[in-house]
């Protein structure tokens, strides 16, 4: 795809990623997912299907969870992005990360960064009043290991903590 670059032009993209200003120069077809992983080295965000079907690439953009694989990086010029690298730290986990450990909410871990970003954004938005509703609102994050029941348990535990 290098061939197309000179013709299509390279765009300056300014992002605040996990509270840090990052400037990139990218051709327009680079997705936010590839920008994060390949250009910024933030490989916590995962590429599952690359077609909007699995949720592994979920990041938080200006307080809302979105799929980074169906977003062009240039579209988000000027935005705030939070990836799994920006949620908690090894010494101080986010409450949802602790709850995932406590509730055994993962096996292989591949879907986990997307699940956490999705869950954190849903909780921050104050959505998900019932277990049923939380299941519905988390259905965009598939888990091939089948940890879904425990994932929902972990989210409900955090929801109850903050009550």
């Amino acid at each position: 795809m290098i061939k197309g670059i000179s013709e299509a032009g390279v765009h300056e993209v300014n992002l605040v990623v996990n509270d840090e200003h990052r400037q990139l120069h990218l051709p327009p077809w680079v997705t936010l997912l590839d920008a994060l992983r390949n250009h910024l080295g933030l490989t916590g965000t995962k590429k599952g299907c690359d077609h909007g079907q699995c949720g592994a690439c979920t990041v938080i953009c200006d307080d809302e969870r979105i799929l980074s694989c169906l977003t062009l990086a240039t579209m988000k010029d000027g935005s705030n992005i939070t990836t799994i690298e920006g949620i908690g730290s090894e010494d101080e986990l986010h409450p949802l990360q602790s709850a995932f450990i406590e509730h055994d909410a993962f096996q292989c871990g591949y879907c986990t960064p997307g699940q956490i970003c999705s869950g954190v954004a849903m909780l921050a938005a104050g959505r998900g009043d019932t277990r049923e509703e939380i299941q519905d609102l988390m259905s965009g994050n598939l888990c091939r290991c089948g940890a879904n029941t425990n994932i929902i348990d972990a989210i409900i535990a955090v929801k109850n903590q903050s009550k």
Binding site: A8, T31, G52, E64, R65, L67, E132, E133, D136
Partner: protein, 338 residues
Amino acid sequence: MNPFKYEKAASLSGAITAVQRPGGVYLGGGTNLIDLWKYGITHPDKMVDLNGLNELKSITELPDGGVRLGALVSNNTTAYHPLILERYPLLSRTILAGATAQIRNSATNGGNLLQRTRCYYFYDPDSPCNKRNPGSGCPAINGHNRLHAILGHSDSCIATFPSDMCVALAALEARVRVSGPDGERTIEFTDFHRLPGDKPELDNNLGQHELITAIDLPANGFADNYSYLKLRDRNSYAFALVSVATGLSIQDGLIREARIALGGVAHIPWRLTAAEAELRGKEPTEANFATAADIILAGASGFEHNSFKIELARRAIIRNGMMALDPASQRPGAQPSL
């Protein structure tokens, strides 16, 4: 995946000027366009990003009592907006029944109307398909056609239009406001999408380079008696096999006005005013909804894998009519199962 140019439009007129070139397309949330580009189904030469057009990003009340939805407002913002939750809960319900929270956060109201079919052959660039490659044939007619149409299909194409939101917009008699190289116009919702006929490559009646600026909702949102029933292979994150949006105005126990629109059954959101007229002045009973269902489905015909949809649609119309009498059952997440 072809390389393409990108421009973020700074004004409406700037967007319309920027898109006027072969392969110029508008970019809303990108959740359909970027996917189709990745699959090599569409080959945009230039994407004109509309997300900077703040004038298209609000939800406002209209002097006639209706509400205007900006084309660039996200599906989720629309579904959770207080005006929509209170006055157009049917619309909110249909939006939340579609896609996932992540997709709805990016997806725009304008883009939702223009999403392409989910026909498997359309999505496979190696397969013939009259919609993607006019004149190449329609393998769905004698192939896998579980998701396909039972109403309004043609010898060229039997695809369905997959939007949930548009089923409510059809029932509510929304109007689509568009702007283009030749100025502005308003299109009645029922005239917006089109049947495939012998030109299945055209999904709708939008002119070339025309841009959707807003969707206007009339004052009556049927907020007292409404229901959306979406039947699908799993209970979340799947497209409808059959869906029904029903809105009723009831006075003294009789139906004063009825709206019934179907999704997942045709190339357009399907609405038949003759069936609605039949319900006027009648009691909202299973028997009366069954009569309406029979009128709607009188011309239905199926294919090898989707004939079951005719009876499914009939039962869904009846059941949803009864559910509209108890809208409390419509809380998001309180999805009835198949």
